[in-house]
Symmetry: C2
Subunit: 156 residues, 2 copies
């Protein structure tokens, strides 16, 4: 019998593993700060997400272990005749399960979640250096029709 | 004395002009539905934005007339050490004022607003067919480091 992959909202006890996964990545390792105890700003961000009905931090669970994470933000816009959009961000799977189709199941799940929330599209941006990720999303039906622009602020 | 450009949160009475501006655009005209009375879904989206502390629909006002609109969404993320981001969307100026630097003032204003909300970056996506818009944002310091991917659902 195949082991079942479960999806649920992240809980406070999952945060350590979530940050660990986010940091275990070529770009993530340059910008995250995974240590014990977890820096307070991770906990504050988690609480902000949890208290916002338009943000969901989802984890994928296999045999009791957190093996994937993603965040979905639901946003009402005036454009597209007052259409809601879902934005996916912070997608990561545990390195132990990479190449096993877990990412596909996670994004497919997120797409269904977006439909349930009455969104008319799902969007995301991916760093142009992540060429595998671009191919992955295009295979799932996403179209790279837009430029994704960022303006970063200098912070201490 | 130069006429002063003011920025404020949109009010219900501004919605007609906002939708009119959004529809007056090569892409907007294919997807908006500007008519009287305004379709209900615009009003519902406006109410959803107004009731969400993490969404702001801003208008630029010159001599009492609405001449620009943009929406900013503030989102807490676990990534980037629990950093908040500002996302700009639905930027439009009235055709009567185009080429007069109003867009630059609007985006500059939005960047300052994002800093006030303690964001570590401002992001947006722009359709690859809008080559002028890409240049405009790059001149303001944005970097096109990401692919912007969309997956649209078929709706009736």
């Amino acid at each position: 019998m195949e082991n079942e992959l479960l999806f649920r909202q992240a809980e406070a006890r999952d945060l350590d593993k979530i940050v660990k996964m986010l940091a275990d990545d070529p770009l993530g390792k340059t910008r995250e700060n995974y240590r014990h105890p977890l820096p307070k700003q991770y906990i504050k961000a988690f609480e902000a997400i949890q208290s916002d009905p338009n943000n969901e931090l989802m984890v994928a669970v296999l045999e009791g272990d957190i093996i994937g994470v993603l965040q979905i933000t639901f946003t009402p816009y005036i454009t597209h005749q007052g259409g809601w959009r879902a934005t996916i961000e912070g997608v990561r799977t545990d390195e132990s399960v990479r190449g096993k189709g877990i990412g596909t199941k996670m994004i497919t799940w997120a797409i269904e979640r977006a439909k349930t929330r009455n969104c008319h599209l799902v969007q995301l941006t991916t760093d142009k250096s992540r060429t595998d990720a671009l191919r992955f999303y295009e295979n799932l039906g996403f179209k790279a029709t837009h430029e994704g622009l960022k303006l970063k602020f200098n912070r201490c």
